[in-house]
């Protein structure tokens, strides 16, 4: 088996006396779409934030492509090939869609100096237009991102996460608040991107239908620990998971 893109080892995190995450470990291989699910309070958001370095974990290590990423700044994590989307809307509202997408790529182009003295678009216009087209946003290329619909902004958010050609993209509740048509569109694009580029995804999500149809493998958390792991079909049939969701 090749080197895992993401490897999480024995992450623990407590808040005061409450153990939010109790020693979770897993690995994600290249090209996988991993779903991280669990009922409210299962610790999946805490785990997600520990992986992203937003929260310092009490114990454990996170490695991306074999490199430890604990206590790393978000901008440096991004430079190691990790893209992410946000649960809430996270575009730059006054900037056009094109500028949003160019921004997402420019920090990976050239040096600090070349970005100061080089071309205004860092030579990324064509690439950004391709990405916009891929996410079916071409008509909105010059529209300020803030005036798009909620679902369209989610697409811009995703386009930004992919712009730097990451190895790993962490999607934080991508389906939240998106209407059905847009959701189908989003899923379609994510699957297509994965197929085309082999990018690894880790998805944290509430919407079971969405996770089951998008992911290749699913990890279920309850009370801060992994209670099940397997393909969508296996998870669907797993009695422990059903009990956890039914509040057993």
């Amino acid at each position: 088996m090749s080197k895992p893109v993401l490897s999480v080892r024995n992450i623990q995190k407590s808040f005061g006396g409450i153990k939010a995450v109790r020693g979770v470990s897993f690995e994600v291989q290249r090209g996988e779409i991993l779903g991280l699910i669990g009922p409210n309070g299962s610790g999946k958001s805490t785990l997600f934030n520990c992986i992203l370095g937003q929260l310092p974990a009490d114990t454990g290590e996170v490695e991306v492509n074999g490199k430890p990423v604990s206590n790393i700044r978000p901008s440096d994590l991004n430079k190691l090939g990790v893209g992410r989307t946000f649960q809430q809307l996270s575009v730059f509202p006054k900037m056009t869609v094109l500028d949003n997408v160019i921004l997402a790529g420019q920090e990976h182009r050239g040096t600090m100096l070349s970005r100061l003295f080089g071309p205004g678009d860092a030579g990324l216009t064509a690439e950004a237009e391709k990405m916009i087209e891929f996410f079916r946003l071409t008509p909105y290329r010059d529209t300020p991102a803030g005036s798009l619909s909620y679902g369209q902004q989610k697409l811009v958010d995703a386009a930004m996460a992919f712009m730097a050609g990451p190895d790993l993209v962490l999607l934080d509740e991508p389906a939240g608040g998106v209407n059905l048509t847009m959701l189908a569109n989003l899923k379609d694009r994510l699957v297509a991107y994965n197929a085309e580029h082999g990018t690894t995804f880790v998805v944290i999500e509430h919407n079971m239908e969405f996770v089951m149809s998008l992911c290749t493998r699913i990890i279920v958390l309850a009370e801060g620990a992994v209670i099940a792991e397997g393909s969508p079909a296996e998870i669907r049939a797993n009695q422990t998971v059903i009990d956890a969701y039914l509040g057993g």
């Binding site: 700044r73 978000p74 901008s75 440096d76 994590l77 991004n78 430079k79 893209g83 992410r84 946000f86 809430q88 809307l89 996270s90 575009v91 730059f92 509202p93 006054k94 900037m95 500028d99 160019i102 921004l103 997402a104 420019q106 920090e107 990976h108 182009r109 600090m112 970005r115 100061l116 003295f117 080089g118 205004g120 678009d121 860092a122 300020p144 803030g146 005036s147 930004m160 712009m163 730097a164």
Partner: protein, 327 residues
Amino acid sequence: MTKVNKGFIVAALLLAVAIVAPIGQGNYITYTLASWLVFSIAAMGLNLTLGYAGQISLAQASFMAIGAYITALLTLSGWHWMAAMPLGVIACFIVGLLLGYPALRLKGHFLAFVTLAFNTLVFLVLRNEEWLTGGSYGLTGMPRPGFGLFTTMKQFNFYYFTLAVTVLAALVMWGIVRSPWGRAFTALRENPIRAESLGVDTRRITLLAFAIGSAYGGLAGSLIAPLVQFIEPGSFGLAHSLRILLMVIVGGAGYFGGPFLGAAVVILLPEMLRFTQGYYLIIYSALVIVMLIFVPAGLMGMGQRLREKFWPGRQQRADMAEGARLK
């Protein structure tokens, strides 16, 4: 693209006005116009720090002092201005890096405090190190540069020399604001968390913006030395740093034209309010507070708002409040 063209036309018109402005005017008015240009340069630099990178510097007058004293000392010892000026500018850039590095490691407004204290330090050094700076008496008689047949000894000529330097400085600034850096600044202002997750190194880019902004202060200083031909520590105190800060705020922080407008207002207003005598600063500071309550984006912001009201060409930004809340 059309927006850029419009901006270009406005800039060309303003430049034409700046070229004809001193014609037929006396020495005093020409001098005032030149000092407007000099302070525009200083304010342009501070606008990069404040308006684009979102950090307060209270030491812009100190950077002018560094530029002015270095240029003055070197030109007094026979250097040409063209050789002395870059040293002043580079010195300010380096001091900016040294000062900004510790201050910008922390979130919060630490740069404001560090630069506030730095302003005091520079003042003390200028006053106490008499062997170098002439102490409270300052330095006098700095020569004005000559370029072959074109000598700037006359007020009129010096104005055009200053105008040329200002135009060059503005072009460089325009390049910075339009570069990927400018986009990164906008992104940091609108959604810093998202910007960082996309690889924008906030700390480094803010530090460099502050250092470049400080270098502009140095350039302004290297022009004020030959313009006034007399410099003393008192001309670069905290009050003057605040004055430059107010130019940026009044003009409109984060607007390219803001510093020019702001510098004009701050320099011309005392002339217009001369009848109020000592009450000038009181009226002025009260006006600034009122402006910050009602039009925090300054005069440029006010202009934009009026334009959108009367020519509602394209509507946007109803969503801005939401974007700001998502921080």
